[in-house]
């Protein structure tokens, strides 16, 4: 590429440098601190001169390490387990949201059918619902109403296979959390994908239909490949919310299905603020989003603009 760039004043570069420091600084600080012992963090006589240690990461990951670190008396953190839960929940909910969301978006864009307007309006309206508003009803429903009686055929089969006690409820299961996340993310995904599907030329679809493809074939073979950038953007945003969410997960998870954000908030508990370990867990939680940002920033930006500008 032979683009020419404008020359700028030094003050301009200074501003840019300052901005970069501001946006990346806190993350970097956390990164550095996650390699310090608590004593070093608290006394903090020198910012950068210290003996780096991976102790914090060892403490955090003690339940999945193949060896037992010397400084860990008993492994209480169970971070590895939470990390796996987070992965399962975020990945499954992202994939399902995308599949379901782009089918719906396609229907809304390409078909005229009864109820289309009300569906589309509802989708837009529920985008504003904050997770906190869902807390009370979801807590009540998932624990008390969305249950299968343990004496029923299905219920007893589940109890026999997976163990546990009481009625089989959505609360405390991965699926329970995944279901809320799909519902929370669907409106946004539908909204964003609509703007991409509109741009797919109708002629392509019609050509495929003439060749004898059914509506589902048209959708999967023609439309989907063309909206890949939109899918990528939607995927990243959905993943981000499912990966980072705390409130609903903490209301719905039990001891086996805790996700990483819950673990971090729990460990900020009042007795021991172990800054080093917390920073290490924070860093581990931040890594997937950071990777996405570094490798897919173009898609993120496309997604953001498509989502907002289309209004």
């Amino acid at each position: 590429m032979s683009t020419t760039y404008d020359r700028q004043q030094p003050a301009f570069y200074a501003l840019i440098a300052a901005l970069v420091v501001m946006s990346v600084g806190p993350v970097l600080l956390m990164f550095v601190n996650s390699f310090k012992l608590d004593v070093d963090i608290i006394s903090g006589t020198s910012g950068m001169i210290f003996l780096p240690t991976i102790q914090n990461y060892e403490t955090a990951l003690c339940d999945v390490l193949w060896y037992k670190p010397d400084h860990v008396d008993h492994c209480s953190l169970k971070f590895g387990n939470a990390f796996i839960n987070s992965l399962i929940i975020a990945l499954v909910s992202t994939i399902l949201t995308l599949v379901i969301g782009c089918m719906a978006a396609y229907a809304l864009v390409r078909f005229r059918f009864m109820g289309r307007d009300s569906v589309s309006l509802t989708t837009l309206m529920v985008r504003m619902v904050p997770p906190a508003v869902l807390l009370v009803p979801v807590f009540g429903l998932w624990n008390n109403e969305f249950c299968i009686d343990k004496t029923s055929y299905v219920g007893s089969a589940i109890r026999d296979t997976f163990g546990g006690r009481g009625d089989v409820c959505l609360a405390g299961t991965h699926s329970g959390i995944i279901l809320v996340y799909i519902a929370m993310n669907l409106p946004f995904v539908i909204w964003i994908l609509q703007s991409f599907i509109v741009q797919v030329p109708r002629s392509l679809e019609e050509a495929a239909r003439v060749d004898g493809a059914g509506p589902f074939q048209v959708f999967f073979k023609v439309v989907l490949p063309l909206i890949k950038p939109g899918l990528a953007a939607a995927a990243i945003f959905t993943f981000r919310i499912a990966w980072n969410e705390y409130l609903l997960a903490s209301a719905l998870s039990d001891r086996n299905t805790k996700t990483v954000p819950i673990l971090i908030v729990n460990n900020m508990s009042e007795f021991n603020v172990e800054w080093g370990v917390i920073m290490a867990t924070g860093m581990l939680l931040a890594i997937p989003p950071i990777i996405f940002t570094l490798f897919a920033s173009r898609q993120i930006i496309t997604g953001m603009t498509a989502g907002a500008v289309k209004g």
Binding site: D73, H74, D254, N267, S269, F271, N272
Partner: protein, 442 residues
């Protein structure tokens, strides 16, 4: 030393003894069971985690622990205990949950376990448990509903007994020739003198953050200064002279405290003492272990311990946790065995040696424990002054506590007038109590 409880338990234990020991190993029937227990993330229970493997080895009963921060733990328990069948076999509960759980019939009455000769260990010696705590944490249905009394019975056993003690920096006190404060007047005077003597250092670090923390710090001063939340007829008296004095003491302490003290939770308050930013620390006994841990503390070996200073009386807090068996538990009998093992003389000593807070008089006097933790004698002494009635453990307390904590935080940060603030608390408390039916008999 009393009374109904002790005699019941000892009597039953004796019966069990006479019945003979047909079973060679009382744990035999339960070996292979897996108990699911819910414990708080708390230094005492961290120590418990270290001794649990010994229980499994001795009895063959597996234990799976779900450790949560204690406020989270309470939320979780609210949910679990409300189900028809719960997951937890044994729970540790915060003192103030006692009222809720017992009232909702969610905890097992322990009588039937101590009556069962196959379960109750004759050498348990219940009289050795620190009685104030047994009543404070385990007892329900006595006087006022939550204190010792003829109509009460036992629903839990204290485990992780805490009280308040004063930690002070020996080096600083020596350097300036200060006396360890015995009374509140001395305490406040020294707390405000220290920032002058040692620029940059705060006097006493206290919790003060909005909500539970501020309320806790206030209650810590309320009893010794002669105040109370309620009089005997459940009328709020928190806004009387003693109440105002306690709030003033808290404000003085925070004002003369380290930087940023108005937003200190327990962690920050302790952190600032560990970091050497304050000369005194007045709070629970659980911190001793961390203060001696060089990985966390800058003040190892520099800290001395004294009793909670006196106001009109000596009254330190009674806090900590109890352990009880949920009514909807699956393995209640095995859970009782674990409970009994943990709180037995041997278990109590084991946990003390691992850094926990013992709940028995004998453990506080134990030579090995004292050799390892020289502060244990002072702590044992402090426990004798612990006041079981330092806060009302009634079902609506959570609400009152939250209001008290928020209002006090306003006093500390927004200069709300103390009398006015406490009048407000008293008025709202009155409404809460009226609604809850505490004045039905008046």
């Amino acid at each position: 030393m009393s009374n109904s409880l002790k005699s019941t338990v000892v009597g039953l234990a004796a019966t069990a003894c006479m019945a003979g020991s047909a079973l060679a190993n009382p744990y035999e029937d339960y070996a292979g069971t897996t108990l699911i227990v819910n414990f708080p993330a708390h230094p005492h229970y961290d120590a418990v985690m270290k001794i649990l493997p010994e229980f499994t080895e001795e009895t063959g009963i597996e234990v799976e622990v779900d450790q949560l921060p204690y406020l989270k733990m309470r939320e979780r328990q609210t949910l679990e205990l409300g189900q028809d069948e719960g997951e937890y076999d044994l729970i540790a509960y915060v003192v103030f949950s006692k009222a809720d759980y017992v009232f909702a019939d969610q905890l097992e009455n322990l009588a039937k376990y101590f009556m069962n000769p196959k379960l109750a260990d004759p050498s348990y010696d219940a009289g050795d448990l620190i009685d104030g705590y047994v009543y404070n944490i385990g007892f329900a249905g006595g006087d006022k509903g939550y204190l010792e009394g003829a109509t009460g019975s036992l629903f839990g056993i204290p485990y992780g007994s805490e009280t308040s003690v004063l930690g002070y920096r020996k080096d600083i006190f020596e350097k300036h020739g200060l006396e360890v404060p015995e009374t509140y007047d001395e305490l406040l005077e020294i707390a405000c003198k220290i920032p002058e003597l040692e620029p940059g250092m705060g006097g006493l670090s206290s919790r003060a953050a909005s909500g539970h923390h501020a309320a806790h710090a206030f209650l810590l001063h309320l009893n010794p200064l002669g105040g109370a939340i309620f009089d005997d007829q459940w009328n709020p008296v928190v806004n009387n002279e003693a109440g105002v004095k306690a709030a003033e003491a808290l404000k003085t302490i925070v004002d003369c405290g380290p930087e940023g003290a108005t937003n200190f939770g327990f962690g920050e308050a302790l952190g600032s003492f560990l970091n050497g930013d304050t000369a005194m620390f007045l709070d629970t006994t659980v911190v001793a272990g961390q203060i001696d841990d060089p990985a966390k503390s800058q003040v190892v070996g520099k800290v001395g311990w004294a009793l909670h200073p006196m106001g009109v009386e000596r009254a330190s807090q009674t806090g900590g946790f109890g352990i009880g068996i949920p009514s909807n538990a699956e393995n209640k009998e095995a859970a009782f065995l674990l409970m009994q093992w943990l709180t037995s003389k041997e278990g109590d000593k084991l946990v003390a040696m691992a850094g926990g807070n013992p709940s028995r008089f004998s453990t506080h006097a134990d030579a090995d424990v004292n050799a390892k933790y020289p502060h244990m004698a002072t702590f044992g002494e402090a426990l004798k002054h612990a006041d079981p009635d330092w806060r009302p453990i009634i079902p609506v307390w959570g609400k009152i506590n939250a209001d008290l904590g928020t209002t006090l935080s306003k006093v500390l940060t927004e200069d709300l007038d103390i009398q006015e603030a406490l009048d407000g608390v008293a008025e709202r408390t009155k409404d809460v109590m009226t609604e809850a039916g505490y004045y039905t008999w008046n």
